[in-house]
């Protein structure tokens, strides 16, 4: 699948925090599908995430302390720009929730040079199941983003994206945590990037649900943070 795009430099960027149980598997499955340029940002994990990622053959940068997903993406994007001059960066979760098969779907609109950025959406995906609570919270996030950034998206907090050159060069991530998702949408709006939503599956395993539930409060905190930042800046 990657053979079709041999002339494009495509990198997978994986922010990871305490994912020792999944990271090896995720990298292996990416390699099996032909994605060999994989950069993992180990965000001060307290477990063996870094070690396992390295053993699986990914390139790995380490944050000394945990700074969040937004900061990790910044590290990754800056580093890739400085060292490899990438054409496309695909951001991918370390916990096995994204499907490797969907990467090609995200790449297509960007490779064909039609769009600057492709965004995965689990709400466009008909097969996807999620807990009602999660669904409610994600929907709230969407309405919130719609109000703040005035962009109409079906899924605003999905970490599965493909950034083309223009997006790589122009998007500035200002929040260090999960709120960066809203930054990216803001930037799409401000920098007038051409974007496309692509239905992508999200796998809700026992592992991810157990990790996800205690985060519902965090979503509310995220909202408050974004509003505060809007007011103060």
């Amino acid at each position: 699948m990657i053979l079709e795009h041999q002339n494009k430099k495509i990198f997978l960027l994986i922010p990871a925090y305490n994912e020792e149980r999944k990271i090896g598997q995720v990298i292996d499955s990416l390699k099996k599908s032909g994605y060999h340029d994989i950069l993992v940002i180990d965000d001060g994990s307290k477990d063996k995430t870094a070690e396992y990622a390295k053993n699986s053959g990914a390139e790995i940068l380490r944050h000394i302390i945990n700074r969040g997903q937004g900061a990790s993406l910044r590290t990754g994007i800056e580093y890739l720009r400085e060292e490899y001059n990438p054409d496309i960066i695909v951001t991918f979760d370390a916990d096995g929730q994204h499907r490797v098969e969907d990467i090609a779907l995200l790449l297509k609109p960007v490779i064909d040079n039609e769009f600057d950025i492709a965004l995965g959406s689990r709400f466009l995906c008909k097969k996807c199941h999620m807990t009602p609570m999660r669904k409610l919270i994600l929907k709230a996030g969407i309405i919130f983003t719609r109000l703040i950034s005035r962009i109409n998206l079906t899924d605003t907090h999905n970490g599965f994206r493909a950034l083309g050159r223009k997006a790589i060069d122009s998007i500035k991530i200002s929040h260090r945590g999960m709120e960066h998702a809203s930054d990216i949408i803001d930037e799409i709006s401000v920098k007038k990037l051409k974007y496309k939503e692509v239905p992508t599956e999200i796998i809700y395993s026992k592992y991810s649900i157990q990790k996800g539930t205690n985060k519902n409060i965090d979503f509310i905190k995220m909202g408050i943070k974004i509003i505060l930042n809007k007011i103060l800046s």
Binding site: I64, R67, A71, T75, E78, Y79, E83, R176
Partner: protein, 113 residues
């Protein structure tokens, strides 16, 4: 002078001496030293001369002197909390920047070897 006034006065003098010590130890700037001592002086004056605050209260129009003191203290607290928020936010951003840049630098050095 009642016991409470005395206790507060002693505490304020203690606080002022701490501010001076921290300034001498270069932990705070001259501006901060002046700012904090100014605050503590006001507290001292309010405590020692309650009549004075009553007069100010009359001029501002908020009834009793103690109320004026509370009113001003709350305003001040809000301001201080805001300043703290801004500072902490700045430090937080700095730490993020440091983390990002060091991770890149360390990795590049390791790659060269």
């Amino acid at each position: 002078m009642n016991i409470l006034t005395l206790i507060i006065a002693i505490f304020v003098i203690f606080a002022i001496s701490r501010v001076f010590l921290r300034y001498k130890g270069k932990e705070i700037s001259l501006r901060e030293m002046i700012f904090w001592n100014f605050i503590w002086m006001i507290v001292l004056i309010v405590v020692l001369f309650p009549n004075l605050t009553t007069n100010i209260a009359k001029i501002i129009g908020i009834g009793r002197g103690v109320d004026t003191a509370f009113f001003i203290s709350i305003l001040l607290l809000f301001y201080l909390i805001f300043r703290l928020y801004v500072k902490i936010d700045k430090i937080d951003k700095d730490i993020t920047e440091l983390t990002i840049q060091t991770s890149k630098i360390i990795h590049k050095q390791e790659r060269k070897r």
